[in-house]
């Protein structure tokens, strides 16, 4: 384990950014999101959670796939190349790391249908995860078995009493460690961070949403069709305005749409995030298969809590990051859904 005083942390960032672009939670416009580090940037390492998840660095909101060029009446296709620029992300929380693990399932699990754009970024992006010391009131990662104090990633880091502790977890982590070793000091033993870990876990256990785990188990007791046809969906979805906020701040939502844009000198084919909450999601000639907001609303939660675990060995595609809880315009969110369908009345 290595350590560095927080007052010297700029030196660590400098080292890291020499390896590739370094992304960090940076404050801008009253918000914190992952952005390239520059000397003097307002880095926010104690904020839980960043307003946007780390998802966008690996699965950008829009991404060009191909360009169609027209010359006279001939059309040629120029595919976009896979990303191969190395980069590192510092300060990723345990929930967001889990989010990437969920995305890995979707984009990389099936070798026949590998998403090469995502793959390129995953292979070139190093994750330096940062353990949480004090969870927010909206945090409930524990419900999904995420340990906020022991994040996975290439490197795990803890901040305790103005000191950052650093521990490599993977080979890529080891390589990064070598790169930063000159500016860091050795730390023997883990006692310094152990107390902090326990405090964090205790805090999460005392957080308002700690009981969600129990509600969630009530879900498991029901079969899929019972959950699907629960009369509760009508009331739960009633308030949903059908925006994509929850989807776009979610670290695991992976749906995208493929669209063409005529630039006047050719056509760019790109993909962009889509949201199952949208009325034009999966729009076909026959319309949207889920015609009402109730169906669309239900889809999102059934997918995260039932269909996904069903397909991927019990892994939920919610990580308890809490972003949708604080961002939803009408405060309708997955926690309320888990409780209601799990048989717990709010309040």
């Amino acid at each position: 384990m290595l350590k560095i005083l927080m007052s010297d942390i700029g030196r660590l960032f400098e080292r890291l950014s020499s390896v590739g672009t370094l992304y960090l939670p940076i404050e801008g416009g009253g918000q914190t999101a992952f952005a390239p580090w520059r000397a003097g940037a307002d880095v926010q390492l104690d904020r839980v959670n960043t307003d946007l998840s780390v998802k966008g660095l690996f699965f950008p909101q829009t991404e060009d796939i191909a360009f169609f060029k027209r010359e006279g009446k001939k059309i040629s296709v120029l595919p976009s190349s896979d990303p191969d620029e190395p980069f590192a992300v510092f300060g990723v929380r345990a929930c967001d790391v889990r989010g990437l693990e969920v995305l890995d399932k979707v984009f990389l699990d099936d070798p026949a249908h590998m998403d090469t754009f995502y793959k390129g970024r995953r292979e070139n992006g190093a994750l330096i995860a940062l353990a949480c010391s004090s969870p927010a009131e909206t945090c409930f990662c524990g419900a999904f078995g995420v340990d906020l104090a022991e994040p996975s990633g290439d490197v795990a880091a803890w901040i305790v009493d103005n000191t950052l502790y650093w521990e490599a977890k993977t080979q890529r982590g080891e390589r990064l460690t070598e790169a930063v070793r000159p500016v860091m000091a050795e730390q023997s033993g883990t006692s310094a961070v152990d107390a902090s870990k326990k405090a964090a876990r205790d805090a999460l256990a005392a957080a308002p949403l700690a009981s969600l785990k129990d509600s969630l188990s009530a879900w498991g007791a029901n079969d899929m069709l019972t959950l699907f046809s629960s009369p509760l969906w009508a009331n739960l979805s009633m308030s949903c305005v059908g925006c994509g906020t929850c989807t776009y701040v979610c670290p695991t939502c992976q749906c995208y749409d493929v669209q063409d844009f005529d630039t006047g000198h050719g056509v760019t084919r790109f993909r962009c995030w889509d949201s199952c909450m949208y009325s034009d999601f999966t729009l076909m000639a026959s319309g949207n298969p889920r015609k009402t907001q109730l169906e669309r609303f239900r889809q999102r939660f059934m997918h995260k809590l039932v269909y996904f675990p069903e397909k991927y060995g019990g892994m939920f595609s919610c990580t308890g990051c809490g972003r949708c809880l604080s961002k939803c315009p009408v405060s309708m969110n997955i926690a309320k859904v888990i409780k209601a369908v799990g048989g717990v009345e709010n309040g």
């Binding site: 801008g28 416009g29 009253g30 918000q31 999101a33 307003d51 946007l52 909101q61 829009t62 009131e137 909206t138 308002p208 949403l209 009331n235 009633m238 308030s239 305005v241 059908g242 925006c243 994509g244 906020t245 989807t247 776009y248 701040v249 749409d257 669209q259 844009f261 790109f270 962009c272 995030w273 889509d274 949201s275 949208y278 009325s279 034009d280 729009l283 809880l325 604080s326 961002k327 315009p329 009408v330 405060s331 309708m332 969110n333 926690a335 309320k336 009345e345 709010n346 309040g347």
Partner: protein
């Protein structure tokens, strides 16, 4: 406010018990202080979960579009409206989105709304006033503005006083955060098109994402223009933006211009006023009036 909540529950209970309304649109309490959710209460027993306090933020008028249309044997739906939401209600009535006689509208006193961070919302700082419009009755009376009011147009004027380049940089910085989640649009009582041009592949301008910086500009300019003269300045767009974009500064620019160019106008206050962009005066000022007045803006 506790008292107001009790009065609301009492009234709602009476209306439900008597069968005069089939449901009551109100707020349901959540897990924290400020995560109350709009909900339809259909039984007097359920009303114990009704919440109303200084964190009750969402507006209910837009839900009337759907709720007031449901058959329910022709019964009305009851709705609680904050003062600023009554303008939205008026707007929806004037555009025939809601049938007045299917709604029992109850104004509820407001004392300002606080954010999750326990600060008074910008829209409340710049409160338009506490009077109610188009309501069948009012609970709790007209509230009082107990805080130092912010000039509604101070922000707009601040931007207007910048140079074009500064203005561009300002908006570039703000709008580049946009993730096109459409929260601003979908929460807006005026943006209640059955299908938005930006969702409609046939419109020729459909766009789902901020694929290019132009897209955010386009989306926000057109959205602001489409609600120009109709926007009641309820401030919901800015409140719900997950990226903290001060969208009200776009809407208020149009409101300020409308007031200055075509005469004072408050959308939703009256049911029969033609809105500024569906009416005209032969003496309207010519576009670009500002440049003539200021002299130096147009670079030529």
């Amino acid at each position: 406010m506790q008292n107001v909540r009790e009065l609301m529950i009492k009234k709602a209970g009476e209306m439900l018990s008597s069968g005069e309304v089939y449901g009551v649109l109100a707020w349901e309490r959540g897990d924290f202080a400020c995560d109350q959710t709009p909900a339809l209460f259909t039984s007097p027993e359920s009303l114990s979960r009704l919440a109303y306090d200084e964190f009750t933020a969402p507006m209910l008028s837009k839900y009337l579009i759907n709720e007031a249309k449901k058959p329910n044997e022709g019964k009305k739906v009851m709705v609680f409206l904050k003062p600023c939401d009554t303008y939205n209600f008026g707007h929806l009535l004037s555009e025939h989105k809601v049938e007045r006689d299917r709604v029992y509208a109850v104004g509820v006193a407001c004392s300002g709304i606080f954010s999750r961070e326990k600060t008074l919302l910008e829209k409340c700082l710049a409160c338009k006033g506490m009077e109610f419009h188009h309501c069948d009755e009012v609970i709790g009376g007209e509230g009082k503005i107990t805080w130092d009011k912010l000039d509604r147009f101070a922000g707009v004027e601040m931007i207007e006083s910048m140079t074009p380049s500064e203005r561009f940089e300002f908006w570039r910085g703000e709008l580049s955060r946009c993730i096109r989640c459409n929260a601003c649009r979908n929460v807006c009582p005026v943006c209640s098109c059955v299908k938005c041009v930006f969702d409609n592949p046939g419109s020729g301008v459909m766009s789902k994402s901020n694929a290019d910086e132009f897209e955010e500009n386009m989306f926000h300019i057109i959205r602001a223009f489409h609600v120009a003269g109709r926007c009641t300045d309820c401030g919901e767009c800015s409140r719900v933006c997950p990226r903290n974009i001060p969208l009200h500064l776009l809407n208020r620019k149009f409101i300020k211009d409308v007031n200055a160019l075509f005469g004072p106008y408050q959308a939703g206050a009256s049911l029969d006023d033609a809105s500024p962009l569906t009416s005209y005066s032969v003496n309207d000022p010519e576009p670009g009036y500002k440049d003539k007045a200021k002299g130096g803006e147009r670079v030529a």
